[in-house]
Homo-oligomer: 321 residues x 2
């Protein structure tokens, strides 16, 4: 069998059995795990994400931006779980030509975001590689006892609420790849420097379920629905779009297809969560400056995407690495 | 500046400042960190190690052996700290041609060693790479309050004791690379499948300092000496050698040079520790079946290596990746 392997399949069939004995791994269906063997007064949420040059960032990206992206993609997972991050371990495989200046810029980027997010480096490993620059971080954050917001826990009727703007990261990558020009580089910055929504921690106490949006909104909202044993309906005309994304959308002929692209492109690093209608007001009172947009709801049926009332069927739900 | 970067230099000058605020990172001078923000009754030791195909293992190595090596190099760090491992997160960057069978064998190797060492997979990330297979794991283990054995803590006069056999891993790599033939593959197995010395946990309560031997005995004993503010003397004729390593040594012309090679080759995954002379008996009563060999002592002087009474000066103290 040398056909391409589906990543979800290998996780479900080969890795999930390896979590037996650790309910804290949540069957690998969540954004993060809890550390076992600690009493409940000290709950710690932990997540590992990996970045590869040419896959998750471009060779032309500045090393300090890569460092900040490494921290931020991990922080985004913790943000979606309602955790307060405090530290991380990191492994870096450097290409043989990675000189002092590149490492210095990389460390400067780490320092910048450590300051911004209150983090300390705790340990890790540094090696050389004949291949592309490859980095991983294991990020830890505290939650109050029982305070981790899970992907499961949503109920039919809950509203699906998303933070910030959807599609900017995917468009930023396309702009970097030269598919269109963008005078002020807003979308490129959104791709290179995700904004983990840690400010939603208090609001998320009013949510029944939450996930980080990294694979694409449809995929990650689907993860909430699946983990919660629900269906969902998403209305594509409700997607929150930045002015730059709205301008790109205006130029597209197939409006439904373009909106599907924005909702499946990935690299958003927003939060999608399920909020019971009666909890929405309390939720919205705590979201602060980051917009909260209702894009659909959990149902008792299938996972359905609509545009102007019509059901549309995306080819794929999100970006599969 | 595009000259090669010294890994210790980049860790010391660029990464160490990033641990400020977290004394639990021990200035990146130890094998592992303690997780901050947990009360002392729940102390957890954490370490991350990374393996790259072509650097830390060979493309021809069986995927299940690579999986087990990934766990074992991390377990070896925890063993040297006196911790009881319980779980890990893992990131895997798969080459595009990594088919189902390869992943299946890899997962089987993880399962084998999870059973052997009482581990659960807790989470992680799986991505694709255009480069070599690259893996990292973040391993966690419990220690009793204050029970983590540090690299610092040794005193002049303490004996340097090493577990098991030194040089097998390095010789195994040479055998795999065809530099000599080895009929029974003992050395190759020692390279491919390190044996973390978790059984030394109780003995290490009698040690003043300890480190994992992965960079090479002289380098890692030197790390203990440096962290403890001591010098050291190592006597190369005392190196514990397996019968296979002894046979290789017999064939070498330069006996001092060959012993230096064994003591600097790395990939041993043994423990080196400092034990006060009056604690040696209690220490040795707890080491079980794994041999404990005194190879030298901490001093008030320099770091010195001797062979048959003469001071020898290695070109390098160990393997720098």
């Amino acid at each position: 069998m040398s056909e391409p392997v589906d990543e979800f399949d290998w996780i479900a069939r080969l890795l999930r059995p390896l979590t037996r004995g650790a309910p804290e791994a949540f069957d690998l269906l969540d954004d993060a795990a809890l550390i076992p063997e600690i009493d409940e007064a000290n709950q710690i949420v932990v997540t590992s994400d990996c970045l590869v040059e040419g896959v998750h960032f471009l060779a032309s990206d500045r090393p300090d931006m890569v460092a900040r992206k490494l921290l931020r993609v991990n922080l985004s997972d913790l943000a979606a779980k309602g955790a307060v991050p405090f530290g991380y371990l990191m492994t870096v495989a450097w290409p043989r030509d990675a000189d002092w200046r590149r490492r210095q810029m990389f460390a400067k980027g780490l320092a910048t975001d450590q300051g911004a997010f209150g983090l300390s480096l705790l340990g890790g490993d540094t090696v050389s590689t004949p291949g592309p620059w490859t980095l991983s971080a294991t990020m830890m954050g505290r939650v109050d006892p029982g305070g981790m917001v899970r992907r499961g826990g949503g109920k039919p009727g809950d509203l699906l609420v998303v933070s910030g703007m959807i599609g900017d990261g995917w468009l930023g990558l396309k702009a970097l790849q030269g598919e269109f020009t963008e005078p002020d580089s807003y979308l490129v910055r959104r791709y290179q420097l995700p904004e983990p929504r840690l400010g939603w921690r208090v609001a998320l106490r009013h949510a029944s379920a939450a996930a980080d949006v990294s694979d694409g909104l449809l995929a990650d909202a689907g993860h909430i629905a699946t983990a919660s044993g629900c269906g969902l309906e998403i209305e594509l005309e409700r997607l929150p779009l930045s002015p730059a994304a709205a301008r790109w959308l205006e130029r597209q002929e197939d409006q439904a297809g373009a909106r599907i692209a924005l909702a499946t492109g990935g690299d958003d690093y927003e939060i999608v969560c399920a909020v019971a209608p009666q909890a929405l007001e309390a939720f919205q009172a705590e979201v602060g400056a980051v917009p909260a947009t209702v894009v659909g709801r959990l149902t008792e049926g299938e996972q359905t995407t609509r545009f102007q009332g019509e059901v549309v069927t995306p080819d794929r739900l999100g970006w599969s690495h």
